[in-house]
């Protein structure tokens, strides 16, 4: 079982060994289509990053905060089996 994991995941190096990625704009369409970003990397950015607007939002400020609190609760429940220390 460990051997399988080991074979699938090389011990060192980059997950995406595409050294010249940004230097090859012609490939970008193909590379964008060919790879799918890991959901967890995406959620890190979409739930922890991104500009947060708490101004004149639809769902009044309190509701917006509520939504964001819910998002955090969700991501926590998704990313951690036990209550997290943060």
């Amino acid at each position: 079982m460990n051997d399988e994991l080991g074979a699938a995941m090389p011990g060192a190096g980059f997950a995406e060994p595409r050294a010249g990625l940004s230097a090859a704009p012609d490939d970008s369409v193909e590379s964008l289509a060919g790879r799918q970003v890991a959901l967890i990397d995406l959620l890190d950015r979409l739930l922890n990053g991104g500009a947060v607007l708490t101004g004149d939002l639809v769902l009044s400020v309190a509701d917006v905060d509520l939504v964001h609190i819910n998002l955090r609760a969700v991501i926590r429940s998704i990313t951690s089996e036990e209550p997290a220390p943060w």
């Binding site: 460990n2 051997d3 994991l5 080991g6 699938a8 995941m9 090389p10 011990g11 060192a12 190096g13 980059f14 997950a15 995406e16 050294a19 010249g20 990625l21 940004s22 230097a23 970008s28 964008l32 970003v37 890991a38 959901l39 967890i40 990397d41 995406l42 959620l43 890190d44 950015r45 979409l46 739930l47 922890n48 990053g49 991104g50 500009a51 947060v52 607007l53 101004g55 004149d56 939002l57 639809v58 769902l59 509701d63 509520l66 939504v67 964001h68 819910n70 998002l71 969700v74 998704i78 990313t79 951690s80 089996e81 943060w86």
Partner: protein, 274 residues
């Protein structure tokens, strides 16, 4: 906008994906492309700024609807990937400030109001992000992997009693565990040192864990760096081979991303480089 009210889905609301500066080809390039729920994208302009928006039904994007979407991983994934696809497409045409997931306004008028109100801050952020990309760096410690690399330990006493052999094995495992984590810590420090001169800013994300963290080993560093586009290759090159001599330690670079992790003003005293 005319208020479209469908009795089944409720009035349409305005979902904001990203904000950019007026005068870029963003609006024309993306107008009409499908956003969430297939709704066509449009540019909502106010002053110097443009928001990339599509209409979504309030039944699914009001507080209750969003809550329901958040509790369903499949729906959350569709939401996240669609939001991301729009941001990525926009990012090819202009510097953008990505919004956090589920930034929803009642209508375009409220979006314009928000743009007016936040213009100084957003303009400053966009100027800061101009020409930059985000690169993710993750460091993993995987003691099991280290074992398979160096399993032929020097002093395996084949003649030892079963009990003694067990203890030897345990001790070796513990030592291997410690060594791997120590090595991962050293690699993490080396990452920071090597990219210090190449990155403009640095944000620390929580290490990934749980069901969605499917990579082997334990994620001990999950960072994002803001790097000028011209330095992205140098950044990757600086980290190439970094963990080659550290069995059980792995470095992954992701991106380039739109600058999600740098779309908020640096919090005073928080989220700063270590």
């Amino acid at each position: 906008m005319t208020a479209e009210v469908d009795p089944a889905t409720g009035p349409a609301m305005s979902y904001v994906y990203a904000v950019s500066r007026a005068g870029t080809p963003l609006g024309e390039a993306l107008a009409g492309l499908p956003g969430l729920e297939g709704g066509p994208l449009r540019a909502v302009a106010a002053g110097e700024l443009v928001a990339l928006v599509s209409s979504v039904p309030s039944a699914s994007y009001g507080t209750e609807g969003v809550k329901a979407q958040m509790e369903d991983l499949d729906r959350l994934e569709v939401l996240a990937r669609t939001h991301h696809a729009v941001v990525e497409a926009a990012y090819e045409h202009a510097t953008v400030l990505p919004m956090r997931l589920v930034t929803v306004y009642l209508d375009d008028e409220r979006v314009r109001g928000m743009l007016d109100e936040r213009e100084p801050e957003f303009s400053a952020l966009l100027a800061r992000l101009e020409g930059h990309v985000e690169l993710g760096v993750k460091v993993y410690a995987d003691p099991r992997e280290a074992v398979t690399v160096s399993s032929r330990g020097p002093d395996t006493d084949t003649a030892a009693s079963p009990g003694r052999a067990y203890l030897q094995k345990r001790r070796a495992q513990q030592q291997n565990h410690r060594q791997t984590y120590r090595a991962a810590g050293a690699v993490a420090a080396e990452v920071a040192a090597r990219v210090a001169g190449l990155a403009r800013a640095h944000v620390t994300h929580r290490p990934q864990q749980g069901d969605l963290a499917q990579a082997a080993g334990e994620n001990i560093v999950n960072d994002a760096y803001l790097v000028h586009g011209s330095q992205a290759d140098a950044f990757r090159a600086a980290l190439t081979g970094l963990a080659d001599d550290a069995p059980g330690v792995r470095v992954e670079v992701t991106g380039p991303w739109a600058p999600y992790s740098f779309a908020t003003p640096p919090a005073p005293g928080g989220g700063e480089p270590r």
